[in-house]
Symmetry: C2
Subunit: 421 residues, 2 copies
């Protein structure tokens, strides 16, 4: 009998509990072992719940799980950082395997947690921390054993992809789309982590750490969100045959890596633009395997719980291995032209005078551009430039207190439908 | 030291040999074990090869590998059916793990080979048999542990997808596209297995067996290829905003399953239509996980060899498990409306008289349809009908010795650009 202790009994925790109880018979046949959730850490035992669970297995004391000699696997689905990390460390020290869905902790402490898992010869699996139900961590680890991975990128946040899809397909404003996302439970009351790209940054740090065998510092990732995109932009993107997506990407060569989270403009016929609503996609490129893509539901109770339970099964069947391949300090964070490209820039000046002022600024910065629109909003597309050049220009717009939106255009520029001009 | 015996030293075998020798140092660190290819079965030891290999490890006698007590893992990459199957059986009986890329053998004998692997407590892995470099077998197994899989479908053949892409994007005829595929080495001198869908049938049988925990008989899969598609069809598809793809799909409910390989028409903006050239995609749908999609190179030396080596690593690190979940006889092959839908039909009559004859046939069969074109070719789109109805009609066209092409239209019919009429 394999005993599981759950830290947390929110959405994902409940999903894990339900799956294990529903598929129990199936499991016995497959695993030749029984498996049960025998303790669940909650903040209030007496809280009313939508799931039928015996009060005997609920506890408010983490040590009932972490120091319980009968528990084999600790599943951390409580969220937060410091406490969750502390509990995971204690679990390893008490010779327990750890499974988690917590991207904040994994991205911050992946090296320390893997070291602990190795030290105590336990499994540490975190498939659910990136891409919800998409199996990506495991295939990425397997690809990285054989390949030099040069590139990992993806649409990694369901909330922002839902908002962008609504804005694009139903002509909604950013605020309208965000409201719907909040009503449907896709976005939290404080949506900052999602819309400013912080959530993607954590997930990208995890992917990049595994892909490049090198811990990626979350803070080394350049990050911009989607809140500056408005209806005028969306209308112009459509005219241009482009679609905006919030994309996290990390690239690496022999000695460097570079990572960014930013809204980019993709051709209508690229695979990424077919990813709608709360779905996610991850693409990896290796020297032997070429490009692989993985698509599925990026969040939600069932898909995320599915990923957690899949990790539990891997531990029960011994299908985890020492993950000692995250080595620190080999790669250096550097600008290897990741953000080089043509940029879409929209500035909303208040009058004609402003327009000529802004165009003069561009000339001063030696930005080469084509003007797409000068009615109300000034919209230009630049020649291929480096990110530092665009940042330099944008900082001046900040000084002028102008509202603006800018975005790199990716893919074949020849496909631009220039009738927009 | 883990010793590997290769059965076959063609394209994939050479790739496996090269990967293991190139990543050797990496491997030692990861696995804490050494791994080497110590014997290779070839048909002619003295043949000139493009790869540097010591003659000492080549052999023309399969027993040098199959009965060699030093060999731990037998990798079958020789192709064919009977001999390959015989060698795999003998490998298990001599307590060796088996890894194969052979879809013909796996689709035909999956139940027997898994039984043998279980009996001798060895690993039997065949990731490379479907989807080339795409990791699909393993994620599918893992999903099937937790989910009831209702649906598995994919673009599973690189050659036909390459031909259809060329026909669509470069306005080539079927024969012109096939010739290019043959020149580039994508298609064999006798392309029948690819263009008639037999290759997809085998791959689909493997996927469906795992997805539904039930061996799918290859012969139970309805199968049509792409050779009847011509330039007139492609032109009309474009007008309709549709793209043709050769798709294998299998669906299941509680007691039945149904599987087909057929060219179908998809909306331009579906994910499958973004899969171009020799790339493959597989989609699976489970009750917990929802839909997952996996995309990558469906064939070729490196991707396929990558999948084989990944299986080898799983065996070396003990990450294989008893695959005793393929149970025979639970599901029955049945028509569960898989092929129901609107159909595109093009008939090439020789004169006006023929047109009215064919339209009368449709009326006789109570086929409801809209005529899209009556110049030279008669092109119609039917209302939603069952596959048996279309087969009934087509059999009459055969009697009349007419050239024709028909194809189910999938997806939202509302997206049809009806200006084609």
């Amino acid at each position: 009998m394999i005993k599981i202790g759950l830290l947390g009994f929110g959405t994902v925790g409940t999903g894990v509990y339900e799956i294990i109880n529903n598929t129990e018979n199936n499991l016995r046949i497959l695993l030749n072992k029984e498996i049960e959730v025998s303790k669940i850490l909650v903040s209030d035992i007496n809280k009313k719940r939508n799931v039928v669970v015996s009060k005997d297995i609920l506890t408010q004391d983490p040590l009932d799980i972490l120091e319980n000699p009968e528990i084999d696997i600790v599943v951390e689905v409580m969220g937060g950082i410091d406490k969750a990390y502390e509990y995971m460390c204690l679990a390893f020290k008490n010779n327990k395997h750890v499974v988690t869905a917590n991207k904040a902790v994994v991205s911050k402490y992946i090296d320390k947690l893997l070291d602990l898992a190795n030290k105590y010869d336990r499994g540490f699996l975190f498939e659910a921390s990136v891409g919800g139900g998409i199996p990506i961590i495991k295939p990425l680890k397997q690809s990285a054993r054989i390949n030099n991975i040069s590139n990992v990128r993806g649409i990694l946040n369901g909330t922002t992809n839902f908002i962008l899809t609504k804005m694009c397909d139903e002509n909604l404003s950013f605020d309208e789309a965000l409201n719907i996302a909040q009503e449907l439970g896709y976005a939290e009351a404080d949506p900052t982590d999602d819309i400013e790209g912080y959530d993607v940054k954590r997930k990208l740090a995890i992917l990049s750490s595994i892909a490049f065998n090198n811990k990626t510092d979350v803070d080394s990732i350049m990050c911009r969100g989607i809140s500056s995109i408005n209806k005028v932009d969306i209308k112009m993107f459509k005219k241009l045959g482009l679609v905006s997506k919030l994309v996290g990407s990390a690239v690496s060569n022999d000695n460097n890596y570079s990572a960014s989270v930013e809204p980019i403009l993709l051709n209508e016929n690229s695979t990424f633009t077919t990813v709608k609503d709360a779905f996610n996609i991850v693409s990896i490129t290796g020297n032997v395997i070429g490009e692989l893509q993985f698509y599925g539901q990026g969040a939600g109770k069932n898909p995320t719980a599915n990923a957690v339970v899949s990790d539990i099964f891997d531990i029960v069947t011994g299908q985890y291995k020492r993950d000692d391949f995250v080595q620190n300090g080999k790669l250096i964070s550097a600008d290897i032209d990741l953000f080089k490209g043509r940029y879409y820039i929209r500035v909303s000046p208040s009058n004609k005078n402003d327009v000529s002022k802004i165009l003069k600024l561009m000339d001063l910065d030696k930005l080469k551009y084509e003007i797409l629109s000068m009615n109300e909003d000034l919209i230009v597309i630049t020649d291929v430039i480096n990110a530092d050049k665009i940042e330099q220009f944008v900082s001046k717009l900040n000084i002028l207190e102008k509202e603006y939106c800018y975005m790199r255009i990716e893919g074949d520029i020849m496909n631009l439908k220039y009738e927009a001009k």
